[in-house]
């Protein structure tokens, strides 16, 4: 089928298998490899993107279910001149990134959390990030990064 979406502000039309995961469409057909596929089963959050303004696990969305959707991936966060989004910048400055595999998903979840709740409490940050697993950082610096970004976006 031909799948039409808007990805990072650009209209796209791409030939896909209808049950193909949105993640595969993004990575393999559109070359947007920011979203990762650590588990492929909804468990880890490494594939988190925004679909119609909400975070989804792109590994669990059938291509046919994304028809007409607005999709935002990590590639769409930075300004056109390459200046990082304040959430990304906060992750860099807080030292929240180690191997980086989980980080694009973390950043998208943090971005979405702060959109919905610009001043989250510590408990709300933990709840907002609870679908994103990280095998390196121990999470504390991730929470610090979200806090830092919240302060700056306010």
């Amino acid at each position: 089928m031909e799948l039409k979406m808007n990805v990072n502000g650009q209209p796209v039309a791409v030939e896909v298998a209808p049950t193909e995961p949105l993640l595969q469409v993004l990575r393999e057909r559109l070359g947007l490899v920011g979203a990762k596929e650590p588990c492929g089963k909804g468990e880890c959050g490494g594939c988190t993107v925004l679909m119609n303004g909400q975070t989804v696990n792109a590994c669990l969305v059938m291509a046919a279910q994304a028809e007409g959707a607005e999709v935002l991936t990590v590639e769409g966060l930075a300004a056109p001149d390459g200046k990082l989004h304040p959430v990304q910048q906060a992750f860099v400055e807080a030292g929240a990134v180690q191997c980086g595999y989980c980080m694009t998903g973390m950043v998208m979840s943090a971005f979405s959390l702060l959109q919905q709740n610009p001043q989250p409490t510590e408990a709300e940050i933990k709840e907002g990030m609870e679908g994103n697993l990280c095998r390196c950082t121990g999470y504390q610096k991730v929470f610090d990064a979200v806090n830092l970004a919240a302060g700056r976006l306010r």
Binding site: A17, T48, Q54, N57, A63, G131
Partner: protein
Amino acid sequence: MLQADVPVYTPATLAEARQLLQEPGTRPVAGGTDAMVRFKDGVWRPTAWVNLLRLRGELAYIREDGDWLEVGALTTFSELLASRVVRERAPLLAKAVRTVGGPAIRNMGTIGGNIGTASPAGDSLPALYALDAEVLVNGVTTIGIAELMLGPGRLKLQAGDLITGVRFRAQAPDEVCTFEKLGLRAAHAISLASVAVRLAPGMARVALGAVAPTVIRVPDAEAALVAGHAAAAAAAAQEAARPISDVRASAEYRRAMAGNLLLRGLMRMLGPNLVSPIGGDPR
């Protein structure tokens, strides 16, 4: 790469969806959070998927109807959590839904899909049992939640039937309730055992999740709580459990936890001394 070329139909009306589901081998998909996992694992291999997302206009809603609340099948967990009506008039459901997955799972996962998967570990189900919920089928008939659930993955539905919603009486302002869930970690984990409890003067509801082939109500525990006997209620919950052993936990552990979660819930509702604000001494 996925096994290609299973068609996905996207009907625009309930009538059209039912028509498509008449074809043997087809299966509905709502949020896909169970469907995609099982499809990738090769456990569910339908001849075609019927994508329900375009029916959201018809089937994603939270409605108050006097003493009753009705929730459309395509309502997502995030929508339930964001609803003041649900938080205030069905706090038990709100507490249960809050424990489901993480935000991205709650954004896609629907209450209709939680019922449709018919897992004894489905976290909205103990709440729905404790609320004596009725499930709406095809927008016309209703069936009690316990009657609908036949076993793991098995529902009392005909081919082509769609769950269109679920309805239950709003909780009374003077009742207390809790949902206690035990997973392998605090968040984003499937239930090893869970319990939903409601208490009001002369009324108790206890439903256990993940400790039997379906969610179960425990009438003996309910009677014990009405009579004010917490320990007897916990013993009745353990007695009623019919758990399995699997990679996550042994049957013995699940059985013990069924009682302990009930006691933990009672303490959360009534305080550490289990002094009931609704009269009697539940010890």
